[in-house]
């Protein structure tokens, strides 16, 4: 069987000491977590390990000894061997490294059942190669020797990556034990309390492991964490007020309720309320995906508000609002004029088509009257437009999305006539098509059987047939006129819908853009790593095996890791 030792890169050059880590049961592998340096009292080490075990919940133990002798520190072989009797273990690793040639020697002491220590030697020699990448090598002299793979990993990246399963995951679902690599990740991630021991601390124990460089900056983070609690409380209180206000009975009456589902500002408001409720919940995010969702939400809200403030700053500077209001009424007038021209064109002979003159005139006059009504309405409203814009612009302080939704609603209100035209045209066209289809059945001597939901044959009277055919002919000849009006107004409506669609798309884009995840991808790619990548560090064939475990972003681990990620 091959023994796998997961060795942290930061311990490559550590001073001699004890290896602290964990044996992974059933997989024949050991995870080295830290090296405790020499002047120590064994009792204190045992106490420290027990304390850490209680804090992290990982079965920590002393794996063996690590020696990197300096000048004047020779002859420690026997001392190292004696250590194994102080810390009784099934197996005792003795990893040592020569300063000059950087050789790793791994000696494994197996403690048999009868208490007699059987010893196997694995010798590893290593040429000077790279300084920062540890290597391990192995001779194959003995037949029944235990082979060793050294897998070097970067402690910080493994600890911070989210590949290990989260504790709240379903333990009953996975009946089989988790895979080896997953256990390694979990061990490193859980043993975070072990890494709090600073190398400059003046304690009884000194150890080498990964430690964060910038602990001073974390003061700001801590302060922010402290500040976020009252902020969340305030937010949730305001939210509860808001929801209480929204749940007043008057808002659930029929027209208001219907309106609120149609107005995109209201929809956006409820959406943001939901966001804020998630953000201000006092519970910490359970699981990586939940955390990412929350962080993305927070960043999107912040970006949204920042953009909104930027818009406000532009709007309320240099009387931009008045300028907008002054251009809005002429624009509405211009649209109305264009529509009138379009109707005049339709009332003549559009594109050389010969329409039914009487129907054409009736429809055209009807629509012209409608436009007239609309224009007078706009002119009636024109003094108030600036005020509406001024107060509407204030909504931008809630975020750009609110301003955009408000704009979308205003566009919907200002183009209400186009919507009306479309509805009239569509309704007329629908009636006509419906009549034509039923009369076509009569024309063929059939009728629609409602009870059986099918077309049956039917014998009509002569009068019925005559009237039906006559009506069919009339409807058929009037069809092109209606169809033309329907087509033109549908196209107009489509233009408005497209514009609103673009607005809604941008709102949705701002709402759901995963900015936090993208930032993390750029600055901390290992946090989002999807798998592992192994690289062989030695180029000489037949000498050794030493692997470097990296986090692969584009990679994936088949099955077990995908579940975890």
């Amino acid at each position: 069987m091959v023994l796998k030792i997961f060795f942290p890169q930061c311990c490559n050059r550590a001073d001699s000491g004890l290896l602290v880590g964990r044996w992974i049961a059933g997989h024949d592998s050991a995870v080295v977590l830290a090296v405790i340096h020499y002047p120590f009292i064994p009792g204190q080490v045992k106490q420290y390990i027990q304390q850490m075990q209680a804090q992290s919940g990982v079965e920590l133990s002393v794996l063996g000894s690590w020696s990197l002798p300096k000048e004047g520190q020779e002859g420690m072989e026997s001392f190292l061997r004696d250590l194994s009797t102080i810390f009784p273990q099934e197996r005792w690793l003795q990893i040592s490294r020569q300063m000059g040639k950087m050789g790793f020697t791994c000696e494994i002491l197996n403690r048999g059942q009868n208490g007699k220590a059987a010893q196997r030697r694995v010798k590893k020699e290593k040429k000077e190669e790279e300084v920062d990448s540890g290597e391990a090598e192995k001779d194959e002299e003995e037949e029944d020797e235990e082979k060793v793979i050294f897998v070097h990993y970067e402690q910080r990246k493994v600890m911070l990556s989210q590949l290990h399963p989260i504790e709240s995951g379903d333990p009953d679902l996975k009946t089989d034990p988790p895979s080896e690599l997953r256990q390694v990740f979990q061990t490193v991630a859980l043993s975070q309390p072990l890494f709090f021991l600073d190398k400059y601390d003046d304690g009884p124990l000194k150890s080498t492991h990964w430690q964060s460089e910038g602990r001073e900056a974390s003061i700001i983070v801590e302060l922010l964490k402290q500040a976020s609690v009252p902020l969340c409380l305030l937010l949730s209180w305001m939210l509860s007020m808001w929801t209480w206000l929204c749940s007043i009975r008057i808002f659930s009456l029929y027209p208001l309720r219907f309106l609120s589902t149609k107005l995109s500002t209201c929809v956006q408001l409820s959406y943001r309320t939901e966001h804020m409720r998630t953000l201000s919940s006092p519970k910490a995010a359970a699981g990586h995906t939940q955390f990412m969702r929350k962080a993305n939400m927070l960043v999107s809200v912040l970006v949204d508000v920042a953009l909104g403030v930027l818009l406000m700053w532009w709007l309320y500077r240099d009387e931009h609002i008045a300028m907008l209001a002054n251009t809005l009424v002429p624009a509405a007038d211009h649209v109305a004029k264009e529509l009138e021209q379009l109707l005049q064109w339709l009332m003549g002979a559009p594109a050389g088509l010969k329409m039914n003159r009487a129907l054409d005139q009736v429809l055209g006059r009807f629509f012209l009257y409608h436009i007239h009504l609309w224009i007078s309405y706009i002119h009636l409203m024109s003094p108030f437009i600036e005020g509406i814009l001024w107060y509407g612009g204030l909504s931008a302080c809630l975020g750009l999305t609110f301003a955009l939704s408000l704009l979308s609603d205003m566009v919907a209100l200002f183009t209400f006539h186009i919507y009306c035209f479309y509805v009239y045209g569509a309704r007329l066209y629908c009636l006509k098509i419906y009549g034509l289809s039923s009369l076509w059945r009569l024309f063929r001597g059939k009728k629609w059987n409602v009870l059986r939901q099918r077309v049956d044959s039917c014998s009509y009277d002569l009068d019925q047939l005559f009237i039906g055919t006559l009506l069919f002919t009339v409807l058929l000849f009037l069809l092109p006129t209606t169809a033309l009006y329907y087509l033109v107004f549908t196209l107009l409506r489509l233009v408005v819908v497209l514009f609103q669609g673009v607005l809604h798309l941008s709102v949705d884009f701002i709402n759901s853009f995963p900015l936090f995840a993208i930032g993390l991808r750029v600055f901390r790619p290992y946090r989002l790593a999807e798998g592992v990548k192994f690289r062989v560090l030695c180029d000489e064939p037949g000498v050794a095996l030493h692997l470097l475990m990296e986090r692969a972003f584009d990679g994936r681990v088949v099955q077990p890791m995908e579940e975890a990620a």
Partner: protein, 181 residues
Amino acid sequence: MEDETFTDISGKSICLDCQSHSSFCREFTVSSPKVSIGKVMVYTCSVWLLAYAVFFLTQNTAVLSSAILITLVGMMFHIHFVKVDHETLLVIGSLGIQVSSSYASGREITTFIEMSKIKDIVINEAIYMHQIIYYLCVLLKDPSEPSAVSSVVPLFQSSKPRLNCLVKVYKSCQEILSKSQ
């Protein structure tokens, strides 16, 4: 062993590189031929000639600049997403199998399969277009039912070597697998 010449299923020569790091760790690299300069020139020239013809008819200079842009972007897209330079299979006894493919731009996609998930490595047959080809694949265990195969991970998907190359890889993989199980 590198003297033997290998070809892929369409007859282009490929290069197999076997590296034995130790008795239980081997690395196989199948490299496809590089992008030939002639091919690039043919494609570029054809696009540019077409653009020039359009320019001759329309007298619009935007056509020419867009042609240059299209060729540049197309080339970048090709080397980043399409052209696989080499594919590597790293078999580490008792740890797992790592499959990685490097694109011509240096992008690398890695998949690692743990040994506990692997059932076997086999050579399989498949119908591809109008021919039948052989390919190497890793059989994965079904976690609930150890004897069943849950899924198949094909290896060397883009280079598609012929049988003689596959047999070579297969034999040395089996050596390691039999030892570690």
